[in-house]
């Protein structure tokens, strides 16, 4: 199967599954005993947060592969940047959906709850990573420094998480990935949530492939322009 066809298939599958998540989430699943209709945000908020963490995981792995001299290739840097961009978008979505959930639950759009604060910090951490990338013009220098910054951010996540656990205030404990590994949702609600996870993961994969390809083509065009300019200069009388 050609690469383009595979990408398109992933895109179509993502679209269908996101539509299915909406249909199940909004109409086919029942309201929750405690949360009522608010439970419908459950099918969006945790999957979006999961994609943000997945994206940062991929950014970190690609950055480590770039930093390690044996596996150093410019493609890892492009992948790392592409994934971080998507991660920032999904972290912003996590904050927005969390805020929408928080308004009727806690009666405020924003509260200085530990998890909210640290998610905002995570967002700023990777906004900084992208700002660093945009500040350096030389591709090799940019790749090295961005990889170090991605590693710093990656190492920071568990420490931030630990400080969150100790500073815990309003946010409920993890619904799916909790310490006892026993999800707190069951039946068709659990299946719809799983559908949401798969749908948004496919959206991430589709976005990542396209963003990576765009970055690779841009890099290639830039290299060709440089080669062409050198050729012109050399062949000039």
């Amino acid at each position: 199967m050609k690469k383009r066809t595979l990408t398109n298939s992933i895109g179509i599958a993502a679209l269908v599954l996101v539509a299915a998540t909406y249909i199940y989430g909004l109409w086919l699943t029942p309201p929750d005993v405690f949360m009522g209709q608010l439970v419908r945000l459950l099918y969006i908020h945790p999957p979006v947060a999961w994609v943000a963490y997945l994206a940062y995981g991929v950014t970190s792995v690609a950055a480590i592969l770039y930093l390690w001299k044996r596996t150093r290739r410019p493609e890892w840097d492009l992948l790392s940047a592409a994934s971080a961009e998507i991660g920032v978008v999904f972290t912003a979505l996590t904050l927005v959906t969390g805020s929408i959930w928080g308004r009727p639950t806690w009666h405020v759009w924003w509260t200085w709850d530990a998890r909210l604060t640290t998610t905002a910090l995570l967002f700023l951490l990777y906004v900084g990573y992208l700002a660093l990338r945009s500040a350096i013009d030389d591709p090799e220098k940019r790749a090295k420094r961005a990889a170090v910054m991605a590693l710093i951010a990656f190492v920071d996540v568990p420490i931030v998480h630990q400080s969150v656990v100790w500073w815990k205030t309003l946010h409920q404990s993890a619904t799916v990935f909790n310490a006892s590994l026993s999800p707190k949702v069951h039946g068709e609600m659990a299946w719809t949530l799983l559908l949401g996870f798969v749908a948004f993961t496919l959206v991430y994969v589709w976005l990542l492939i396209n963003r990576y390809e765009t970055a690779r083509l841009r890099q290639s065009a830039s290299d060709r322009q440089l080669d062409h300019a050198i050729e012109e200069r050399v062949s000039a009388p």
């Binding site: 900084g128 500040a135 350096i136 710093i152 920071d156 400080s163």
Partner: protein
């Protein structure tokens, strides 16, 4: 590597003794920050005493950002970086040396700041050894991050990026150091304070990462 670190540390401290940047600029700046906090909380003087640990650590953090910028800029003038490469000094040694120099300067600055919060905010300091241990762990952790990030952006004409890159990373240190100080000042908990443990973990992790990757930052 440790010999190189000591060499670089001595060099940076000697430059500071001759230039007086920390004593003439960074220290007065942190003093101004403490005074501005007092203006901001003008209506609630009792609150100042209560939140003195947090204000102390915010002022320290701001001072450390300036100190890190200064520490990185030292290596960018007069081709010092190329000289380090010629002399074949280990990058890990350069990192640890610069880190140690910043830590020594900042610990001295923190001593003065502690005196200032006693005088200006009416804070009473208890459990001095534990407060000192918190200062050392937090300072090493923050300097571990600022040293490497400062070096990354030092010659990119984008020094303004430093606070954006550093502050979210060291936010857990600010939180941990503040809570640890509050606990000690309220005589709540002793050596086994988990926040102090988190500060030590942060310091060890970032110093290890910095030592490993500083070579990549210096490669150009």
């Amino acid at each position: 590597m440790l010999r190189d670190a000591w060499l670089i540390c001595r060099k940076d401290l000697r430059i500071e003794i001759r230039s007086h940047v920390v004593s003439n600029q960074v220290l007065p700046f942190s003093f101004v920050v403490l005074i501005l906090f007092a203006f901001a909380f003008n209506e609630y003087p009792q609150l100042l005493t209560k939140i003195a640990p947090g204000l102390y650590w915010v002022a320290t953090l701001f001072a450390m950002i300036i100190a890190a910028q200064r520490s990185a800029s030292i290596e960018m003038t007069n081709m010092t970086k190329s000289a380090l490469a010629i002399y074949d000094i280990s990058p890990g040694g350069v990192y640890l040396g610069k880190l140690l120099a910043v830590v020594i300067q900042m610990i001295l600055l923190e001593l003065v700041l502690a005196f200032e919060i006693v005088v200006l905010y009416g804070a009473t300091l208890h459990a001095i050894p534990l407060l000192g241990a918190t200062c050392i762990a937090a300072t090493v952790g923050i300097a571990g991050v600022t040293t490497i990030v400062g070096a990354m952006i030092s010659n990119s004409q984008r020094e303004t990026l430093l606070p954006l890159l550093v502050l979210p990373v060291v936010a857990p240190v600010l939180l941990s150091a503040t809570v640890a100080w509050q606990d000690y000042l309220n005589s709540k908990i002793g050596v086994g304070n988990p926040w102090l443990g988190l500060l030590v973990v942060f310091a060890v992790v970032y110093c290890s990462v910095g030592t490993l990757v500083f070579g990549t930052v210096l490669e150009e």
